[in-house]
């Protein structure tokens, strides 16, 4: 870390100066704030970790309330596993296509990057469409979030993940327009790196959702 090295070098210099008997005026501030190299990645990672805490709270809520059916339908009655498997496949595929977009970005190929990003966006839309279909189906059957504590926590957890995917899609479209207009500039590359972390993170959260909500819900 350059900032730390800089501070160490400074303190060494001061000690040498002290030994030589020459006392120079001390200044306790730097003219410029030290920057960590590639600080954006670390900052965005910290955001993702705090997002992780939100999902942890929602998972804990679901863990507590997930069996409180209030004499209503249970997970085994409601969940359609082939549908969930398809949704999982969409999200997993969109993760790898985003990876391909990042590889094309590394090679500096603008149109190939945009192509893979477009495929990622379509897969994300398919995921969202299936999830909305599932939600409307549940509401139609009278299994809305007001039916039982189980369904309240289910809609909150899965809905929050769906909202994240929605905002990821908006971000993706805006970034595609930016890349189309300005090309793979350093700024756009940085944004693309952040979005790729966000997208892969949503896939990680979905692993928890399909395991703990859907698969364990039908047991």
């Amino acid at each position: 870390m350059p900032a730390l090295n800089c501070l160490l070098a400074m303190s060494e210099l001061r000690m040498n100066a002290g030994a030589a008997g020459a006392i120079e005026p001390r200044d306790y501030h730097l003219a410029e704030e030290p920057h960590v190299a590639n600080g954006t990645a670390l900052g965005f990672w910290l955001y993702l970790m705090s997002d992780c805490l939100i999902f942890a709270a929602l998972f804990a809520t679901y863990g507590v309330l997930g069996r409180s059916y209030a004499a209503g339908p249970t997970g085994a009655d409601l969940f359609d596993l082939p549908l969930v498997a398809m949704n999982t496949a969409f999200l997993l595929l969109s993760s790898i296509t985003f990876g391909f977009a990042m590889l094309k970005k590394q090679q500096g190929k603008v149109s190939a990057t945009l192509g893979w990003l477009a495929i990622t966006g379509v897969l994300g839309l398919c995921f969202l469409g299936l999830e909305l279909y599932e939600f409307s189906h549940l509401l139609h059957e009278g299994a809305g979030p007001g039916r039982s504590a189980f369904l309240s926590s289910f809609f909150t957890l899965v809905g929050t993940h769906g909202l994240h995917v929605t905002f990821g899609l908006i971000w993706l479209i805006v970034l595609m327009l930016q890349i189309n207009k300005h090309g793979l500039t350093p700024e756009n590359n940085r944004r693309l790196m952040c979005l790729s972390m966000f997208w892969h993170f949503l896939d990680v959260v979905w692993i928890g959702v399909f395991t703990f909500v859907y698969l364990m819900g039908v047991l």
Binding site: A37, G39, W45, P186
Partner: protein, 136 residues
């Protein structure tokens, strides 16, 4: 030589907007494909176990599914999010470990406390309805 001059030596990477490392870690095709194949396997097996009703016992199923989920999360972290101890001089890993510890305490603590609260709030069927001395 003042502190100013020393810092000037680092001025070129002071503005990370134009730093070449800022585009993220270098990723490879084989890395992504390895992660993809592993996560397909780690997704397909749990779905198969449940949909084909291979596992009967509930607690066994919870343990097995939980293990698959943890392994798959690690695979995603390593192959897709390019996580290792060297990224950002270890700060990424450190913040992740902190988050994991926090999440484990929050989840296990919540489930533990709430389970016992539910169990203790249950009416005791083998006792008269009148208020009895608290049972330990």
């Amino acid at each position: 030589m003042s502190a100013h001059d020393i810092h000037a030596g680092h001025a070129h990477d002071g503005h990370d907007d134009h730093h070449h490392d800022d585009a993220g870690p270098h990723s490879t095709f084989s890395g992504y494909m390895t992660g993809f194949v592993l996560s397909i396997i780690l997704t397909a097996i749990p779905f198969w176990l449940i949909m084909a009703k291979v596992i009967e016992g509930r607690s066994t199923a919870v343990l097995v599914l939980g293990a698959f989920a943890i392994v798959q999360i690690l695979v995603h972290m390593y192959y897709f999010l390019h996580m290792n101890s060297k990224v950002e001089a270890g700060w990424t890993l450190l913040s992740t470990i902190f988050t994991v510890i926090f999440v484990v305490i929050a989840l296990s603590g919540t489930l533990w406390v709430m389970f016992h609260m539910n169990a203790n709030m249950m009416p005791h069927h083998d006792e008269p309805a009148a208020i009895s001395a608290p049972q330990s």
